[in-house]
Structure formats: structure tokens, C-alpha cells
Symmetry: none
Subunit: 225 residues, 2 copies
């Protein structure tokens, strides 16, 4: 489960991130509204926690923007004690819930569970693989590098998915042929090389950080380093 926390106060961030990590969530943090917007729109999150008072775009605006683009991502707003008007505005902007600071962690966690339960009932969350700034949405079958959408052909996609699912494992050409092409004999071919080449052109060409690596004599690996 990937969560996004948009919050500038370091102690809130620290408490929430540690608490949620302990519960098995993967938490990304944006320190201001603009970063939050970029992250929320370019990456996949299962739930977003927004502070209202933020540098850059404020939480209410951000809530509206996100809900417009991604109506199926639940949002929890955080607000300072006493600013009830904000709460009302937040809920009217599409927020699903809110908490008043200071809040207890158990309370936040209970609300997160409630929202995930509610949303998952109807639409199940997308399955997503992230490797560095490469994002593969297995459910939607689309691929992004940074915020650049990448169009792949069917075979290219199958190859990428196989490499990504086996991140950091060296895969021999035979492994790849068996899993992506469904052939376990006929080794007089270099399709794999050719398709790895195609993938590199689409995925690694415009980036300094190469993700597809050659293990000479062994095969190929997909990894960050």
C-alpha cells in the first residue's frame, strides 16, 4: 500500500511516517503543496493525507485538483484545532475525512483502515511496480518514466513486466524466451536482444540512470544501480 503524506511540519511527518511504516505501509512525503501535486498526479497512491496549511498550494486547493484527476483515491485532511470552516470546505472539496491536530496516531490509523476498506470494496487498487522513477501499472498496463508516459507494444510490455517482476535477478535469454515468448527450444534466435534494445530505446535512452543492464555471458537484469 502506497500512501502520500503532504505535510511541512517535521515532527508530524516523523510520527506519521514511522507509525505507518510499522504497520507495513509505504509512505512518500511531500514537504509542500506543489511537490504534493506533482507526486499525487504522476504516481499511484492508495490514499493521500493532506495538511491544509502548506507552503505552495494549500491543502484545500490540492484536494480539489487531485479529486478532479483521480476521484478514486481517498483523501484525509489534517487541520489545526479550531479552524472548523476549513473542515467544512475540505469535505465539500471532495475530501473523504479529516483529523484535527494534534491527533493520536491510533485515530489516524483507524481512519485510514476505514477508508481503504470502503474504497477497496468497490474498486480494487491498482497493482503498481516502481523502480527508480519508472512506474509500471500492472492493472492499467501503462508505463511512465518520471512523468513521461511511455507507449509500448504488447511484446515490449510483456518483456518489461517480466524484467520488473524479477527486479535485481539476472535472467538468462532462455528464462526470458520461456516466459515472454513461450518457447523453450529454438535457440537460434536473438529476439531477446532485439527487444531489449527496443525497450532500452523507450525507457533508458533519455535518462541518466539506466535500469536495464547486461550481464555479459549470463543475460539481463533490471535494477536501479
Amino acid at each position: 500500500m502506497n500512501l502520500l503524506l503532504v505535510e511541512d511540519e517535521p515532527n508530524v511527518v516523523s510520527v506519521v511516517v514511522r507509525g505507518l511504516a510499522a504497520e507495513g505501509f509505504n509512505v512518500s512525503v511531500a514537504p509542500d503543496g506543489n511537490t504534493g501535486e506533482k507526486m499525487a498526479l504522476t504516481n499511484h497512491f492508495d490514499l493521500i493525507i493532506l495538511d491544509i496549511m502548506l507552503p505552495g498550494i494549500n491543502g484545500l486547493e490540492l484536494c480539489k485538483i487531485i479529486k478532479k484527476e483521480k476521484p478514486n483515491v481517498p483523501i484525509i485532511m489534517l487541520t489545526a484545532l479550531g479552524s472548523t470552516e476549513n473542515v467544512v470546505a475540505g469535505l465539500d472539496n471532495g475530501a473523504d475525512d479529516y483529523l484535527i491536530k494534534p491527533f493520536k496516531f491510533a485515530e489516524l490509523f483507524a481512519r485510514i483502515r476505514m477508508l481503504l476498506r470502503r474504497y477497496n470494496g468497490s474498486v480494487n487498487p491498482d497493482q503498481v511496480i516502481n523502480i527508480s522513477d519508472l512506474q509500471i501499472n500492472l492493472t492499467a498496463k501503462n508505463v511512465k518514466r518520471g512523468d513521461q508516459e511511455i507507449t509500448l507494444t504488447a511484446t515490449e510490455y510483456r518483456l518489461l513486466e517480466f524484467l520488473a517482476k524479477n527486479k535485481s535477478k539476472i535472467l538468462s535469454r532462455i528464462d526470458i524466451l520461456e516466459n515472454v515468448w513461450d518457447i523453450d527450444f529454438n535457440l537460434g534466435t536473438n529476439v531477446v536482444d532485439v527487444y531489449v534494445n527496443y525497450l532500452r530505446k523507450k525507457i533508458d535512452k533519455n535518462s541518466d540512470q539506466k535500469l536495464i543492464h547486461t550481464a555479459v555471458g549470463l543475460g539481463y537484469v533490471m535494477k536501479e544501480a
Copy 2:
């Protein structure tokens, strides 16, 4: 709108009843858990507000009982400051929301609106999907592109709705066949292609911005870009 308030503290009752009446709600009050149970189960309410500390059955128990019998009635719990454990328990018992006393009336009202909106179209308008200048009214089942009304046949509409609900997801022909045509075998057909073609003629033909895209070898997607 009929609301039920189960609460024994007279001043809370007074504030809430007067406030909600002013907003046009019809509020019934039960002063203890047993009365609350009887009223909740025998009458129709659109929403129930439950104090946790109550004479008779306590609010948590009552919540569980009501949710078992009438899972579609939203419930807001009221709890005293500092008893976070109760909150967690309440949400796990099926409560939809909670408020910590003392609370501001505006906050209660915002949460009531949120819940009513979520549970039932009664407070909110029709459910509408907008993709670029295409507008699909799921309630009225009509479709507009720009301000041009578009007439679709039943199957065309079902297909469009499915594509739109899965905006940006690549949907395989099989996905589409299963969800729009209810068949999961018989794959020797090209109905999907033909109907996508029909839809394109009605929706994309007269617009520069195409919304239905083909992902060769994978299926079709509906998206802006």
C-alpha cells in the same frame, strides 16, 4: 430527512436538535440505549448519531446491533475527549464516523452532509463522469460531447460506461466482453471491435481530441491524451 440522536446529556441534545432543525432536518431523540435500539430498528432513519456513554446498552453495542440489521444507515459516534480506544472500536464496529466532544456544530453538520452524500444520492446531484469535454451522466444515462447531445444504443452505452469508469486503464477485449457482454468464452468474435468503431463514430469523429485509443495487441483505453 429523519435523523435519530441517541444521547442522554440534555445540553448536547438541545444544541444538536436546534441546530439540525434549523438546517431542515427532522430529529428524533432517544435518551438511553434501549430506547435507541427500539427506535432505530422499528423506524426509518436516514442517519443515526450515537453517544458512546449511555444508560442501558452502550453506544458501541448499539452500533453493532444497528449495523447488523440495517447496514445502509450511516452512523456517527460521539465520544468524550481522550477515549481514543473507543473511537477505534467504534469504527471497527461499523460506525462511519465519529466526533470528539466537545465539538462545534458546523463540524457535525459537515460530517452529516458528507455521510448522506456518500450513502445516498438524495443530497447530491446526479453521478457524472467527465472526460475532457465528454460528459456521461450515469444517473440519467445520457451523453454529451461539448454541448452536443449524443444518442447511443443500449450496448454502445454500456461499452462507453465501462471504458469511462476505467479511464486510463488498458482493457483487453476479454475484459470488455466479460463486463459488457457477459460472456467469458466464445473468443472468436469481433463484436468489441465493431462496437468500438460505432462509439468512435459517435464520440470521436467530430472532435480533434480523440478519447478512445487502441493499444495494439493489448486492447482499448479511454483517456484524454
